[in-house]
Chain length 383, copies 2
DNA sequence: TCTAAAACATTCAAGATCGAACAAATGAGA
DNA sequence: TCTCATTTGTTCGATCTTGAATGTTTTAGA
């Protein structure tokens, strides 16, 4: 074959940088290269390739071996020794609220950051993609950020666009309490998120075990976690063969106090007519309000109506104390920082990690004991 | 298999560094090696292996024994210098194969175990729930296990029963490359698994970007990972709006050599009639066979048929070298041990972690360049 | 304890690879 | 266009890696 001599470069010589890039490509494809093969392939002398290999080896990008080069190996003493990486990094953190939920996440992150010798720069944002991006950009511009932990708003096309932008940033990005949907190929994004769906399922199964056979769900559709809670509730119903179409699913997101009371009465009516004896209530603040309403209406909790709150900020304050699903907020922050530290230390070779954390079910008084049913209870004047 | 003499490097010789890496891998996978076995396996003389062992022993990475080498042992006077070596915990590990896939997982686990000062006890099992349970029970009975890493068979009712049993064990249990289905409430089980579905999607999107518009899938239905690969393939097709019902999905699991050739011809016929110009082939061994078949039939790879293999054990040996999705096997083991160490250290307060790792796409020659189509290619006599 | 087989160390040689020195070519800037 | 700095190529002796040959040590079994 006459063409055997022809290098693939088609006669044009490459600059050394391009050549080294090619060399690394071959290396990534085959794991190892011989000086001879590459020299022939690129149409340059072996000595040139050897010099390239030396350069790359000095930067720690390859391991030199007699006859060629391999991907950096831990057995290669030249790279193995000099990497204690005492270098300290700065990590930006953008969260959608500094009042609710996120303080504990931040606190977990700060604690771990201290252990990992990282600096954390926190910025609050709104539940809004445009503002998320503004805040991230501000961190990138003014601070010297080595990595980013962020909980972006993912609604609509703007959310997807934001995710694509985050995925393309030159620094590692870790989502907190968010997951990129699989249809957008954010192949570099890592995340750590609570499995709210699992948490909801746990609550439903707990209520089932206490003897409840119709279990409803009250949600707050304004919260980003709400869809996951609903999904978990539905899956659990399906697994327990509770008919979904007969089960109560109400939303009292945007109601003010007066309307809320009316809505709660409506819910109690529905419970009575469907035989529902237990409710999963998303956001424990709302659960507190609902329990209060039940007590006001003479509905015994948990006797006539068992309640599990989703989230555990204030659930213990109610009378009776409310059982609640508690997301591992501080661990979300902690694990995010662990991921970031490992990513910064290990670089690209480390595979993308995506972590689910399970919440915990805290059983208090509002959900224990067999159901007595609501049938005999009359609103307005019980007994 | 033609001859057991054939080294598995397929004739390509390795550099010394790669050989030593392989040696360490075998060592971590099996605990001990004989000079002879490795020499045969890598196709070099025993003397060479002995020299490698000496080199590694000088660095304290192995302990020399008559006939081979073992992992560094505290009994070995030459390494006994600065070792606290009081193993805090023992972790059992039960995997379904010691020949395929799992050696690298075990190697990663052992490497991390050393860093975490844990002891790992490995047992091979069959791809069978009953045997899994037997092996776990044996570890529980005879060794003093503080934790368990296991890759159980999850098929059928027996698989579910096994998971429930594992979930109820008094020690922490971590699944490797397995996920408990959400319908069984294994609320204590943690896991680390490769997101094969993501990997398949990555391959499809890569082929799409290279210009392919009909992308088929060849699977091996006997493998537990196969369903995930197929799911990822289907999802990616849907996302790219490739009609699933017109796309090729064939299985050549239980075919012997002659039938396989026929089946491959059948597949090529289908490709021609559907306009399919690219295939995702599960298990890279099968991908190698398929590429070989294409070359034999005068079908140009990648010009007329682009191929991406799933898994990356031997893909680089084919001619042309096959692009492949590479699961992060050693990280699966490594992360499992990290999870276990943290669990043993922190106890019940730590939330349950469930980790997905993304595979990597290694682009080689078999998938690059725009498709030319199969239309003009005639089987049996090209040109 | 003794013996045979296997494993090991040592030496040497062949072949390949490497690197120093110098020459030639190339590209950027005056 | 010319010059200088940088990159690349050639030559050749030095160095590295591997394997065969040979003698010594270790191991397992009688």
């Amino acid at each position: 074959m006459s063409s055997e001599q022809t290098p693939e470069t088609g006669g044009k010589s490459l600059f050394s940088l391009q050549r080294r890039e090619r060399l690394m490509e071959e290396l990534r494809a085959h794991g190892a290269i011989t000086v001879r093969d590459i020299a022939v392939k690129l149409g340059v002398s072996e000595l040139t390739i050897r010099r390239d290999v030396n350069t790359l080896a000095d930067e720690g990008l390859v391991s030199r071996v007699h006859g060629g080069a391999t991907l950096p190996s831990p057995l290669d003493r030249s790279v193995a020794v000099g990497r204690p990486s005492a270098h300290s990094y700065s990590v930006g953190m953008v969260v959608p609220s500094l009042d609710y939920y996120w303080p504990q996440v931040i606190s977990g992150a700060r604690g771990e950051a201290e252990a990992q010798n990282l600096r954390i720069l926190v910025r609050g944002s709104a539940y809004d993609a445009a503002d998320n991006r503004r805040q991230v950009q501000a961190l990138l511009d003014t601070q010297n950020i080595d990595g980013l932990i962020v909980a972006p708003d993912m609604g609509g096309e703007r959310g997807k666009e934001l995710l694509r932008w985050l995925n393309a940033l030159p620094i590692p990005v870790i989502l907190a309490e968010r997951r990129a949907p699989s249809e957008i190929p954010a192949h570099r994004l890592e995340w750590v998120a609570t499995d709210h769906s699992f948490g909801a399922g746990m609550a439903v199964r707990h209520l089932w075990q206490e003897g409840h056979r119709m279990i409803g769900c009250l949600t707050d559709s304004t919260s980003p976690t709400s869809p996951h809670v609903v999904r978990g509730w539905k899956q659990a119903l399906a697994a327990l063969k509770i008919p979904l179409e007969k089960s109560i699913h109400e939303d009292s997101a945007k109601l003010d106090n007066g309307d809320r009371a009316k809505h709660f009465d409506h819910v109690l009516d529905l419970c009575r007519s469907t035989g529902t004896t237990a409710m999963l209530v998303h956001s424990d603040t709302q659960a507190v309000a609902f329990v209060q309403h039940c007590v006001d209406r003479g509905v015994d909790v948990p006797g006539s109506m068992a309640i599990v709150g989703y989230d555990d900020e204030v659930a213990y304050l109610a009378e009776p104390a409310i059982s609640a699903v508690r997301p591992p907020k501080s661990y979300v922050g902690k694990v995010a920082v662990q991921l970031m530290a490992a990513r910064l230390a290990e670089g690209r070779m480390r595979p993308v990690h995506r972590i689910d954390l399970n919440p915990e079910l805290i059983v208090r008084e509002s959900s224990v004991g067999a159901p007595r049913g609501l049938a005999g209870v009359v609103l307005e004047d019980s007994l």
